[in-house]
Symmetry: C2
Subunit: 182 residues, 2 copies
DNA sequence: CCCGTTCTATGGTGATCACCATAGAACGCT
DNA sequence: AGCGTTCTATGGTGATCACCATAGAACGGG
């Protein structure tokens, strides 16, 4: 086997960035290929499934990255509430750093493709379920009040809502309020 | 002036439905025109600003409709909490009735166009601000605890988040939890 | 009745869409 | 060295994109 291609990886990361800014249909394949500085022809070698396969990989990779962050934050949090606030503050910081343009990598693809693309619907669902399971585990470990899964979904709902509202209001306040709610 | 055109109105309503399902870039103009059963040429007569102008009208009209619902619900609610629960239940019902495909009319356009289209960014922002102002007024009138505007944003964040998460989970639970949070 | 405005109707425009056929280059293996 | 696989590179494919030029139909007011 020749050298492992970093072109494939660049495709995924580039696509993730662009999809978060303008959604799945808002970004053309040619723009992704150009931004990834890869030849057009090698795209379909790495992604026989085309744009959908690429988006699926982007969603899963970004999902895993956030999942890791989520574990790190809650592992060193003194309480579930403190962890939720730290997480919300972190996301708000990244979001503001992107000038309120880098939306949730799952949501931005989800709204453009569900239920039109079953494969992508499954990918987004699995990422959300993974996050919920992880957070519920931390909620239970930190002996937070109430049902762990419900608390996890509450946090997810609050953060996703904040990610939407903050984009228009161009303010971190929704994240602060989301953390306070959950 | 000849008869007021109902074609223009059909364009707006048709576009609103389709944008909510698949986002701004996910729906082609030709599909909207065909679904509205209008000739292609009359579109640019009614909307010289093209697709963006149409989307702006769709967002504002849908925003006003939800704004009216919001007033109706809170005007006959015994408390802010009761109103929030009723509202969340209503939206969840509509959403499930569309087989979890009719997303928030603002969000679905917002994520596809902000900040690429300043005009649409303004439209989505104005609708959200209108909702917040309305809900804050009801919160104050019903003497809900805490800052009225903060409570309004909390409810908005919760509902928008629920609208996202419920789409993937295909369940009304996120709406129930959003109401409980706010 | 005729004019002027409003709206409908047809038929494209160039540009971009996602996708692919084909061939050569780069490398590991035997 | 020669083979087989992996990847790069080029150059399109038909389809759809948003948009528009042009002309006729439908209606009001004078």
């Amino acid at each position: 086997m020749p050298r492992p291609s970093d072109a494939r990886s660049r495709f995924i990361d580039t696509a993730a960035v662009l999809f978060r800014q303008r959604g799945y249909h808002g970004v053309g394949l040619s723009e992704i290929i150009e931004a990834a500085q890869a030849p057009k022809g090698s795209f379909y070698h790495h992604f026989p499934g085309g744009k959908e396969e690429l988006a699926g990989e982007a969603v899963r990779r970004a999902g895993r990255a956030i999942g890791r962050t989520l574990d790190q934050v809650f592992e060193q949090a003194p309480s579930f509430e403190a962890g939720a606030l730290t997480l919300a503050t972190m996301i708000a910081g990244w979001f503001e750093g992107s000038d309120w343009s880098a939306g949730c990598p799952v949501t931005t693809v989800l709204l453009d493709t569900t239920p039109a693309s079953p494969a992508l619907s499954v990918a987004t669902r699995e990422v959300f379920e993974d996050w919920i399971t992880k957070v519920a585990g931390h909620a239970e470990r930190l002996s937070a009040a109430g049902d762990p899964r419900e608390r996890a979904i509450k946090l997810l709902v609050g953060l996703e809502g904040a990610w939407i509202v903050a984009r228009t209001l161009r303010s971190a306040e929704p994240f602060r309020l989301a953390a306070a709610m959950a």
